[in-house]
Symmetry: C2
Subunit: 166 residues, 2 copies
């Protein structure tokens, strides 16, 4: 049995009590959050977001990848958001490997040579937030009037700390 | 005042009641979910996931982009997941534009020429799920013993429907 089958059972219970079917696509609070895929982060909960409030973009690290920028452009140009919140977190897996180590593991386990592919690991947590803020702020695809804030989430305390606004 | 300031206030309340600080990084239920950034989707809620259960990867459309595969490789090789659930949804913004239309809008509003950049829109919802399942299943970076399931979430009813397992 796949975990998915259990998720389907949980979803049936959720759907029974669901009463948010009237909401439209554009996020009510006009904000897009970019954060990590980490299982310990439930950003809608720790940010107090209701269904329909905010776009949620998540990848390994919460990095400002080209694909994250694709999502942000769609969020801003087509769905009206004008603020970005970037959230990285303590004890992130992205601080525990290098590209060379992961490439060697992939070669050993899957027999695939990924060359010098960048998996976007980092060594300094606060600097990783600042780096991503800079990538977003300097992107010609994100206009100057979009507010961009960076923060760190502590997986031990559940608490968010602001790093910078750019 | 940025929306972020309101999110910080909500977070302070969340942190006061937070009692999940003991959890480790690898997802307990060994599953990674790939879904859309849409504000109406709170996947942890509609899948019955607890803090620490599952990786959550989200982008515009829930597409199997190169960056989503980057995240999945890290999820599987470094953090032990072995199942992927791809979830697209009804009334998705990705079905309401073409690359040419978005490129023209970006040119008009930002003065940037994005050339033939693919923003990964789609026209057929069920086919978009199947396309992404096929991309993942045929990727040499995702081993054959990883279960991959595709589903559609209905934003009107809150209900999930399975599309395929590959």
């Amino acid at each position: 049995m796949a975990v998915f089958d259990e998720l389907m059972q949980a979803n049936a219970r959720y759907a029974e009590g669901f009463d948010q079917g009237h909401l439209a696509s554009p996020p009510k609070r006009r904000v897009a959050v970019l954060t990590c895929m980490d299982a310990r982060l439930h950003p809608e909960s720790f940010l107090g977001l209701a269904v329909g409030d905010a776009h949620m973009i998540r990848n390994a690290g919460g990095r400002a990848s080209d694909d994250a920028i694709r999502s942000l452009v769609i969020s801003q140009r087509l769905l009206g958001t004008n603020e970005i919140v970037v959230i990285h977190h303590t004890d992130c897996g992205m601080a525990h490997f290098t590209n060379e180590q992961l490439a060697a593991k992939i070669k050993a386990e899957l027999g695939v040579d990924v060359g010098d592919r960048d998996f976007l690991p980092f060594t300094d947590l606060e600097q990783s937030v600042r780096d991503d803020l800079n990538i977003l702020r300097s992107s010609p695809l994100i206009p100057a009037d979009v507010t961009i804030v960076g923060a760190i989430y502590d997986v031990r305390s559940g608490r968010l700390t602001e790093v910078a606004r750019v």
